[in-house]
């Protein structure tokens, strides 16, 4: 058990260390632009600021957990689809449609009793997210259109849907910029507050969701079928499973998680939705899912880690002068080393361990609509 765990942890840990080194090189190389002079110690200042801003204070810890919540939820969404052999890059679209639904329903129920308003808004967001996630599942199951391209297209479409709704029917009267009405009583209650840093009750959703997803995947027949379809669609069909139905189900569950993440951000953090709401959560979640070895527990830890990086980004920009976009760079490089794990294993002399990116060999197998799984 311990040896297995060590095998699972070694590559992600190595990938993070190497990514921090690559990040350090980039920070040093661009230090004249960031601070106006060449500064080889800047990476230390940068990384220390991230740690300080995320872990070394109560405020930082609150920000970390709050930033991690959507990352874990959408990470679970991506990971769940990976188990079914599907690559869900549509986290952003599912998040946005869920968020705009939460803003609409929350705004409409702003005067209703809180114990009705918030749950209804959350459930509505989950339902709409699930429907939005089901579209690419349906398209793949019945037309063979690969979900990687369709989910990305749906992300761009979701941005336009949000822009239309918030500038049009949902626009709050009297506001100086295009935004939806305040969610009022539909807001998720704040449970911890410290010096202006708040965490809402919704930060526990990801942990509950991780438990449910684990149970669904490893303790139910549906989960077994989903994992079988992901590992070998042909074998699954010969065994009498229904790949089409399972694909749509997996994408719907993924969309539901994305919608829940969107609801949490609107009802728990901002309280309204601006037309230009931008998020990168769909792509961040891919890093979370792969860093977490596509396992619910791993995804929770990976989400917390990347949430800490996001939470510390503000202080990093203030103290080191390095733009917050450095976090995107670090995430991308972590992802690169996770995929090119042979580099990590060479550097740290780690023997090959099962799991990780290597087990995702069926994602591309269905590309181009030639898969047998998409045929009746």
């Amino acid at each position: 058990m311990v040896a297995r765990l060590r095998g699972q942890l070694a590559v992600p840990a190595g990938a993070i260390v190497l990514a921090l080194l690559v990040g350090a090189v980039i920070i040093i190389a661009t230090s004249p632009l960031a601070t106006g002079r060449f500064d080889p110690t800047l990476p230390l200042v940068t990384y220390w600021a991230i740690i300080q801003g995320s872990l070394l204070s109560v405020n930082g810890l609150i920000d970390t957990v709050r930033s991690a919540a959507p990352l874990i939820l959408v990470g679970l969404s991506v990971g769940f689809c990976f188990k079914a052999g599907l690559f869900n890059i549509g986290g952003q679209g599912q998040f946005l449609t869920g968020a705009v639904t939460a803003a609409a329903v929350g705004g409409a129920l702003a005067g209703a009793p809180p114990y009705i308003a918030a749950p209804v808004a959350i459930l509505a967001a989950m339902a709409v997210g699930a429907l939005y996630g089901m579209i690419p599942g349906f398209l793949k199951a019945f037309t063979g259109a690969h979900e990687v391209v369709t989910t990305i297209m749906l992300n761009y479409i979701a941005i336009q849907i949000v822009a239309y709704l918030i500038q049009g029917p949902l626009r709050a009267p009297g506001s100086s910029f295009a935004r939806s009405a305040d969610v009022g009583n539909a807001a998720i209650p704040v449970i911890i507050t410290s010096g202006g840093h708040q965490a809402h009750l919704g930060v526990i959703f990801p942990f509950i969701a991780a438990g449910i997803i684990w149970w669904l995947l490893y303790r139910t027949t549906i989960g077994f079928e989903i994992r079988t379809v992901g590992a070998n669609p042909d074998a699954a069909r010969y065994a009498g499973m229904r790949p089409r139905y399972l694909m749509m189900l997996a994408m719907s569950v993924a969309g539901l998680l994305g919608g829940l993440a969107g609801a949490g951000e609107i009802l728990g953090v901002s309280g309204y939705m601006p037309a230009a709401y931008s998020t990168n959560v769909g792509f961040d979640a891919i890093t979370v899912a792969l860093l977490g070895r596509v396992h619910p527990l791993g995804i929770v830890f990976a989400g917390l880690l990347l949430g800490a990086m996001r939470a510390g980004a503000g202080l990093m920009q203030i103290q080191a002068g390095v733009p917050v976009q450095m976090i995107d760079v670090l995430q991308g490089v972590i992802l690169f080393f996770l995929a090119a794990d042979i580099v990590v294993r060479r550097v740290f002399r780690i023997r090959a361990a099962a799991g990780g990116v290597a087990e995702l060999a069926t994602v591309t197998g269905t590309y181009g609509g030639t898969t047998k799984a998409s045929q009746p």
Binding site: Y156, G368, T370
Partner: protein, 354 residues
């Protein structure tokens, strides 16, 4: 003619046809320009997928090349300012920027080749990593440079075809569409035709298609599958690099984070719609570009009459989303009949010689 427009219901169809004809003939140059990154991206896809490597990373390759092209051109322009030449307004800065963009495209696709051919990482994951890393790094650098602005190197100028050609009745707009363009867009037609001929009429093309359809059979007749895949994926990067350069050196003259706006993915749809053939992909790219141009035309110069009332009552966001919706419809409707190369996406493992 106007009598037809007044017919109930069918009149609307005639009005629509009339409007579409006007949009296409008046906006020919912009349609071809907008089709350029899509067509070049699709050519990159043809190179990769015909030899059996799925390339989802075209978007990231374009974005990285767009940044590198703009950045290098701006650096060179500072080092040696020059007046624009008579031909396309070339300056050394623009040419060096173009070369740098192409080199960047090749470098990034070498990374994709290494990950997907040598390490046998799932090819879609490899492509996605390229997209995420490219977006992250260019976004970071873009923020750094926007706080320390650099003067741009300008851009290539469009060729001005003689009025005698563009003024011709009926076909004049076609000459304008295909000739009144910057150098990258002008080269697209040549590249499309050349690649179509090479792919289906040359030894290299036959070998490439063999490797994409049945690599084992190709290996038994002495084709080095791994080497050919490497070569094609890296050469495919040239097209992605040109597409990137189009954004910052031909169509526009500056870089913004995420400026490729999903065109790398629409290029993939064009590739599939065009059945993995260069000319088919080019025509599909024209269709996507025309749908974008239509959205712009409805906002800027809406038609008069009944049709105009209907079209202008549709929210503008619908037209902004139109290329993405068309992409989904194309993928859903056509993929079933459009067959990918049989070995597309399958890593090749040489059998051990025992």
């Amino acid at each position: 003619m106007n009598g037809l427009f007044d017919l109930p219901v069918i009149g609307l169809v005639f009005q629509l046809l009339d409007f579409l004809t006007k949009v296409i003939t008046l906006n020919g140059p912009i349609i071809l320009a907008l089709a350029t990154p899509l067509a070049l991206g699709a050519l990159c896809g043809v190179m990769c997928e015909r030899s059996g490597v799925v390339n989802i990373g075209i978007e990231g390759m374009m974005l990285a090349s767009a940044f590198v092209g703009w950045f290098v051109a701006a650096l060179v322009a500072q080092a040696m300012p020059a007046a624009p030449g008579a031909f396309f307004g070339v300056t050394p800065a623009l040419l060096i920027g173009l070369v740098a963009a192409v080199c960047c495209g090749m470098l990034v696709s070498t990374l994709h080749a290494w990950l997907s051919i040598s390490l046998r990482v799932d090819q879609i994951i490899s492509g996605t990593i390229i997209n995420i890393v490219a977006a992250g790094v260019t976004g970071y650098l873009d923020v750094l440079f926007s706080t320390n602005p650099m003067p741009t190197a300008g851009k290539f100028e469009a060729f001005a075809p003689p009025d005698a050609l563009t003024g011709l009745p009926l076909v004049g707009w076609l000459f304008k569409m295909f000739l009144a363009q910057g150098p990258i867009t002008l080269s697209v037609i040549v590249l499309v035709v050349a690649l179509e001929i090479l792919l289906f009429r040359s030894r290299w093309g036959l070998r490439t298609r063999a490797v994409g359809e049945h690599p084992k059979a190709a290996e038994t007749v002495g084709i080095d599958v791994i080497r050919l895949r490497y070569r094609n994926v890296i050469l495919g990067g040239v097209f992605a690099g040109l597409a990137g350069a189009w954004f910052t050196l031909d169509f526009g003259n500056s870089f913004q984070g995420g400026m490729t706006g999903g065109r790398g993915f629409i290029a993939l749809a064009a590739l599939i719609f065009g059945r993995w053939r260069p000319i088919g992909a080019f025509l599909a790219a024209l269709l996507f570009a025309a749908s974008s141009a239509l959205g712009i035309a409805i906002r800027t110069t809406p038609p008069s009459g009944e049709l105009g009332r209907i079209l202008t009552s549709i929210p503008e966001e619908v037209f902004a989303a139109l290329p993405y919706i068309v992409t989904i419809i194309v993928l859903a409707g056509v993929v079933g009949r459009s067959i990918a190369p049989a070995a597309d996406g399958q890593p090749y493992e040489r059998e051990s010689a025992t």
